[in-house]
Symmetry: C2
Subunit: 351 residues, 2 copies
C-alpha cells in the first residue's frame, strides 16, 4: 500500500490559511510560536495544519530570513576512527541545535582542495563551517583563505587567529610517557606520525618533554605515516635493537606509538621477531580505537573524547554566528583533556 513520491504539490502556507480562515501571516505566527495569537486561532490553524499534513518549506524560509540554518564540515580521511567520530559528534550537536550539516570530505586537505571545499560550501549557503585541519599546511591555508562565513578549526592548533578546538595531544603524550617511566623503564622510544601533522608534532613534543623532565635519555624518534604498515616497518627496525645496548647507551624496553594502528604494526613486527609484549618491550598507542582493547595483548592508549570535540566546535561556531554584540576581539581556543587507558601491553600480566 505504501506509495512514495506523491505527484500532488505539497500544501503551502496559503492552503492552510484558507482552510483555517485566517491570513497566511497568522499561520506563520502560529508556526513560529509567536505569543500574540489567540488560543482559538492557534488551535484552528493547528487543526488545519494537521489536516493537510502541512510542512514548512525550509527553502522559502531560508530565502526570506537569509538564514539557511546549514553548517558545513570539511574533513579528510573520514573512514578512520578519529575523523569519523569527530564528524559524528559534530553532526549530532549541530542537529540538536536545529542545524543541518553538509560534510565535504576528501583524501587529504591540500590548499587547493580546501579552497574547493569552502567554495562548495559557500555556494550552498552555509552559515559557518567546522574545518578539521590536522595538517599544519591546511591550517595555515584556512587562515589565509577568504570566506563569507565564520569558521572554526578542529585540531588546527591554537596559534592562529581562528577559533579552535583541539585535544591536548601534548598532555596525552606526557601521560603515556610518564606512565611508562613510572613502570620502571629507563626511557621510552617513539614512533611518531608524519611531522606536518600538528597532532603528530604535539605528541612528539609531549613525549620529549616528559623524558627531559624525568632526566631520561631521548632516543631518536622514528617517523611513520599513521598506517599499520608504517608501524610494522618501524617495528622491524626497533626489533633489531631490543636487548642490545643502543649507541646512546639506552635500552629499548618501551615504545610509544603515535597512534593505535601503528602500535598494531609494531606489535606484529615484534611478534615476528620473537619479541614478547610486555615482557621484553612495553607498547602504548594513542586514540583508543574500539579494537585496541582486544589486541594481543590489549593496548595501553590515550582516549580522546571526540563527542566533546564536536560539541565544543559547534558551540564555538554558533557563538560566532548567532552571538551578535558579543566581544569578538578575543579568539577562543578550546582545549579538551585526553585520558590515559592502561591495559596489558604495558603492565606485566599477573601469572
Amino acid at each position: 500500500m505504501p506509495r512514495p513520491a506523491e505527484e500532488t504539490r505539497l500544501p503551502t502556507m496559503a492552503d492552510v490559511a484558507q482552510l483555517a480562515g485566517v491570513s497566511h501571516q497568522t499561520v506563520s505566527r502560529v508556526l513560529s510560536g509567536h505569543p500574540n495569537v489567540r488560543e482559538v486561532t492557534r488551535a484552528g490553524v493547528q487543526k488545519a495544519i494537521d489536516e493537510l499534513g502541512y510542512r514548512r518549506n525550509s527553502t522559502a524560509r531560508a530565502l526570506a530570513t537569509r538564514r539557511t540554518r546549514t553548517l558545513g564540515v570539511v574533513a579528510a580521511d573520514t573512514t578512520l576512527f578519529g575523523p569519523a567520530s569527530t564528524v559524528a559528534g559534530l553532526a549530532e550537536s549541530a542537529r540538536a541545535e536545529g542545524y543541518m550539516v553538509s560534510t565535504v570530505s576528501g583524501r587529504a586537505l591540500s590548499r587547493l582542495s580546501l579552497t574547493e571545499a569552502l567554495k562548495h560550501l559557500g555556494e550552498w549557503g552555509v552559515e559557518g563551517a567546522v574545518v578539521i585541519t590536522p595538517q599544519r599546511e591546511a591550517a595555515a591555508a584556512l587562515f589565509e583563505l577568504r570566506h563569507p562565513f565564520p569558521v572554526v578549526t578542529v585540531e588546527g592548533g591554537h596559534d592562529l587567529e581562528i577559533p579552535s578546538v583541539s585535544v591536548d595531544q601534548n598532555l596525552g603524550a606526557r601521560l603515556v610517557t610518564d606512565h611508562l617511566l613510572g613502570c620502571g623503564h629507563r626511557t621510552v622510544w617513539h614512533v611518531a606520525g608524519p611531522q606536518d601533522w600538528l597532532e603528530a608534532a604535539a605528541r612528539m613534543a609531549g613525549w620529549r618533554a616528559a623524558l627531559h623532565e624525568a632526566g631520561a635519555d631521548v632516543p631518536p624518534p622514528l617517523i611513520g605515516d599513521w598506517s599499520p604498515l608504517s608501524g610494522y616497518r618501524a617495528g622491524q627496525e626497533l626489533a633489531g635493537r631490543v636487548g642490545r645496548r643502543g649507541a646512546s647507551g639506552s635500552d629499548l624496553t618501551a615504545v610509544f606509538a603515535a597512534n593505535d594502528q601503528m602500535a598494531l604494526g609494531i606489535m606484529r613486527a615484534f611478534r615476528e621477531a620473537g619479541v614478547r609484549i610486555p615482557v621484553d618491550v612495553a607498547i602504548a598507542g594513542f586514540d583508543d580505537i574500539p579494537e585496541a582493547e582486544f589486541f594481543a595483548p590489549p593496548l595501553t592508549t590515550v582516549r580522546q573524547d571526540f563527542a566533546a570535540v564536536g560539541r565544543a566546535s559547534i558551540r564555538l561556531l554558533l557563538d560566532r554566528i548567532e552571538g551578535g554584540d558579543r566581544d569578538r576581539t578575543a579568539i577562543p581556543h578550546h582545549v579538551i583533556e585526553p585520558q590515559l587507558i592502561v591495559r596489558g601491553s604495558t603492565t606485566t600480566p599477573v601469572v
Copy 2:
C-alpha cells in the same frame, strides 16, 4: 590581513546585470549556459561577474526551480569502518553529480528514529535519500513509511519493493567457508552477528549452504553482537571445544566470524587459552578493516567495495529523481560481489 565574514551584502544577480548593462535574465542565461547569448554579451556579463565576485544564491535558485539538489543519507554507527566507508562513498558520488548531501546518523535505527530522520530530511527538502538499513526491522519500517521523495536502501535486502544496493553477503560467506573446507578442515564453526541484521542472517545462510553442499556437518552457530567483546566471549566458549570431539562428532579446527572485530575477540580468547592460530584452529573474518592485515596473525577476511556501493546507490537514486519517463514498474536491485582476502590466519605459515 584575512578578514572573514564581511558584513556587506553579497552581490546579487541584479547587481551583475546593472554593471554589465543587461537584464538579470541575461545574466541568468549566461550562468546556466544557455546557447542563445551573443559572445559579446556573454563576455561582458562574465566580466561583471568576476569583478563583483558574484555567486549564485542556491536558496533562491532552489525556490524558483523547486529543486534543492540535496540528497539525504540515513545511517547508524557511522564511526564503524563499514558504515563510515559507505557514507564516504555516497557523499563523494553525490558531490560529483552536483548534489549536496546531508547525513543523519544515530546510534541504531529503530522504527521511531527512522521516522524522525526521514521527517528531518523532508523538512530540509531533500530530493531523495539513501537509507542504510542493515536491520530487518529498519528495512521493513522504511518500506511502510510514507515519504515525499524517492528512497534507496543499502543492505536492506532485495525482497522488498524498494530499490536496493547490497553486497552479496551470502556469496562472501560461501567463499570463506569453501576456502576453509578447501584447506582440509572437516567443518567450519560460525560466530554469527545479531540475527535481526540481514547481513548477519545472509552470512550465516551462506556458511550453512556451503557446508551442506560439501556434505560437511553443520555445528551449532554462536551469536555475537559484532563487538570484539562478544567475539571474545564466543571465543572462550569455543576454546573449550578445541581438540575434543564435539557431541556431533565434528572437530573444531576452523572458525568463521561474521566480522573482523569479533574475529579479533575470538583470537584473543584463543590466545589466552593457549590455542594457536592457525596451527590449532584457523580463523576468518568479514569486512577487511584496515587493521585486519596486522592482526596476530593477519586475518583472512572478505573485502567489500564500499565505494562501489556508494556509487551504485547514488546512481539508482538519481535515476528515480531525474529519470522522468523511464519505466518505473521494475524495482532495481543492485548486487555487488565481495572478494576473499586470504591471509595467515587460515594458512599454515611456511617455516
